[in-house]
């Protein structure tokens, strides 16, 4: 009887997620173009080609750099913002609201906002004599910066919520002992929000491998592939180069990476006996 209530969810999930995911694995062993009606089974050839494909290797490297950036910059900003907000009385809700606003701005519009600010002829780029989105050394970091602008405020809100669950008596005791705010942060706050911190670290890694919008909108992977991520390489191979089989293999590798990350997390959680 209960399954009748589950049926709509199961059906929609089956058609949108499960069947296409399984098909993706099947296609990844073929040379299917996407539009042709015939596909030849090629075994592991797509996968062996991947690691000799400079675009794929470069995309993977950029994804790793992207992950490192997002594990450091927004995490630090989010933790700092939340910790500072948790210690003030006045304007806390106002600041929280202001920090969260960029998160609700659509990625297309956000990209447009920053394209103008970073413009090499009229924006900040002209003041600093740089071309943030057009210079191969700067472009990846510029795109990550724009994505981070929309992202870090979300982390402030989530971390703040977790910090408000910490017993205030702990801070009062630490203050009696004369512990500096710096000390209090590392010995009370950070251990107190560890489940949230670990979970968002995990999701940051997973989402970093899915990043697509900002690169596609701002640079399309350019200049000269300097901002290409796995997702943009996959997209180009699937819809411009008509290599549906090959791009499916990229998708499967991306799924394997996130499965690996989740598995490591689950094992660590079990070994360390974390509670979430």
């Amino acid at each position: 009887m209960g399954w009748v209530f589950m049926l709509p969810l199961v059906i929609v999930n089956l058609f949108v997620v499960l069947i296409p995911s399984v098909l993706s694995i099947v296609y990844s062993f073929t040379d299917w173009s996407g539009i042709s009606t015939r596909a030849r089974f090629v075994g592991l050839q797509n996968y062996t080609t991947l690691f000799r494909d400079p675009e794929f290797v470069q995309g993977l490297l950029h994804n790793i750099l992207w992950t490192v950036f997002f594990l450091i910059v927004p995490m630090a900003m989010g933790l700092f913002g939340a910790f500072a907000l948790s210690r003030i009385r006045r304007f806390r809700l106002l600041f929280r609201t202001l920090y969260f606003i960029p998160y609700i701005v659509a990625s297309v519009v956000n990209a447009s906002i920053w394209r103008s600010i970073l413009d090499p002829d009229s924006g900040v780029g002209s003041l600093l004599h740089i071309n943030p989105l057009g210079d191969t050394h700067l472009a990846l970091w510029s795109v990550a910066f724009v994505n981070n602008w929309a992202w870090w405020g979300f982390l402030v809100v989530v971390f703040l919520a977790a910090m408000q669950g910490i017993d205030p008596a702990l801070y009062e005791a630490a203050q009696m002992d004369g512990a500096s705010p710096f000390r209090q942060f590392f010995s009370i706050t950070l251990p107190g929000i560890r489940p949230t911190f670990a979970f968002l670290g995990l999701m940051t890694i997973i989402w970093s491998f899915l990043a697509f919008d900002y690169v596609y909108i701002l640079t399309q992977g350019g200049p000269a592939g300097s901002t290409d991520l796995l997702s943009t390489v996959l997209y180009r191979d699937a819809f411009s180069n008509l290599q549906a089989g090959y791009s499916s293999a990229i998708g499967v590798v991306m799924a394997l990476i996130s499965t690996l990350v989740v598995t490591v997390y689950l094992v660590v959680r079990r070994v360390r006996k974390w509670e979430i």
Partner: protein, 301 residues
């Protein structure tokens, strides 16, 4: 959901200020406090400044923008909004977005509330395994199934169709909505449901007449988060909708700014038209928004 609760009640605050003076003296509240507020204000300017500048740019003439893209408008050209509205075809985009968002929200709420009820209340075999599956399904890379989904939808006649996009969004957003509603439902008391069952009501009646009214706050939360996700979504919108008359705002705006008009004030005005409805909705209902997105720590970059 502690996010939505006020941080400290007046009672707690008065207890806080009643601490012995020795503890307060060591804190140096004034100097440290000012530095913290200065940094917090700088961060607030970093967050909101670009949006304010974007609004100013929407009001500039092209020559005004060419000379100062980072300053105030010299003359406030409110007509830019009307021009952008027609040139970028924002009316059609807004209509399509409204249809797509409402369709997605309605379907997601129905699908998620039915499933959440079953998972929270009815003893189903395999329910915990299914929950693990939902967790995995909602963190699976969309790129993994994008390509086969595209060709499946093309074959089913759902490519370049707003209904097709609604179905995809429902599939994408319903696992998260279900998990959120399920945890909301577990916090609700069971007594009224049991009483209705004792009175001979069947599961459907219990669900529709007893459970659903109590679930409304939770449903409103998932409706808001789903609406935001669907309204802002880009990857599937740009992949699945080709005809400009069917495009939602995200791709309508995208093609306008990619197009031949490199008139940045008009692009800004069109962009501002796109974000305005969500900004207003957020400012009115921010607590519910924030509790929905933040309590779970899910949302996506």
């Amino acid at each position: 959901m502690s996010v939505a609760a006020p941080a400290r009640t007046p009672l707690q605050q008065s207890i806080g200020t009643a601490r012995p003076d020795t503890a307060r003296a060591r804190r140096h509240p004034s100097a440290g406090g000012t530095v913290v507020y200065v940094i917090l204000t700088l961060l607030a300017i970093f967050a909101v400044g670009p949006i304010v500048l974007f609004f100013f740019n929407a009001l500039k003439s092209t020559s005004d923008y060419a000379t100062s893209s980072l300053g105030l408008p010299r003359t406030w050209l409110w007509s830019n909004f009307a021009t952008a509205w027609t040139q970028a075809n924002m009316g059609a985009g807004l209509l399509n977005s409204t249809l797509i968002v409402l369709g997605t929200v309605a379907l997601t709420c129905v699908v998620a509330s039915l499933a959440a009820y079953a998972m929270a209340r009815l003893e189903i075999r395999g329910s915990s395994g299914f929950m693990t599956y939902l967790l995995i399904a909602s963190s699976l890379p969309t790129q993994m199934f994008l390509v086969p989904l595209f060709y499946m939808w093309a074959r089913a006649g759902l490519y370049d169709s707003r209904l097709g996009l609604v179905l995809i969004y429902t599939g994408l957003f319903s696992p998260f909505a279900t998990l959120l509603l399920r945890s909301f439902m577990i916090g609700l008391p069971r007594e009224m449901e049991e009483a209705a069952r004792v009175d001979g009501a069947n599961e459907w009646r219990v669900f529709s007449q007893v459970v659903l009214p109590n679930m409304l706050p939770g449903i409103l939360t998932i409706a808001l988060t789903t609406a935001l996700s669907a309204y802002n979504e880009f990857l599937f919108a740009v992949t699945m909708i080709q005809t400009s008359g069917k495009m939602p705002l995200s791709t309508t705006f995208f093609s306008f700014q990619q197009g031949f008009t490199q008139n940045y004030p008009l692009i800004s005005a069109a962009g501002f038209i796109m974000i305005a409805p969500m900004l207003i909705l957020f400012l009115i209902l921010q607590r519910r928004f924030i509790s929905g997105l933040a309590s779970s720590g899910m949302g996506g970059m």
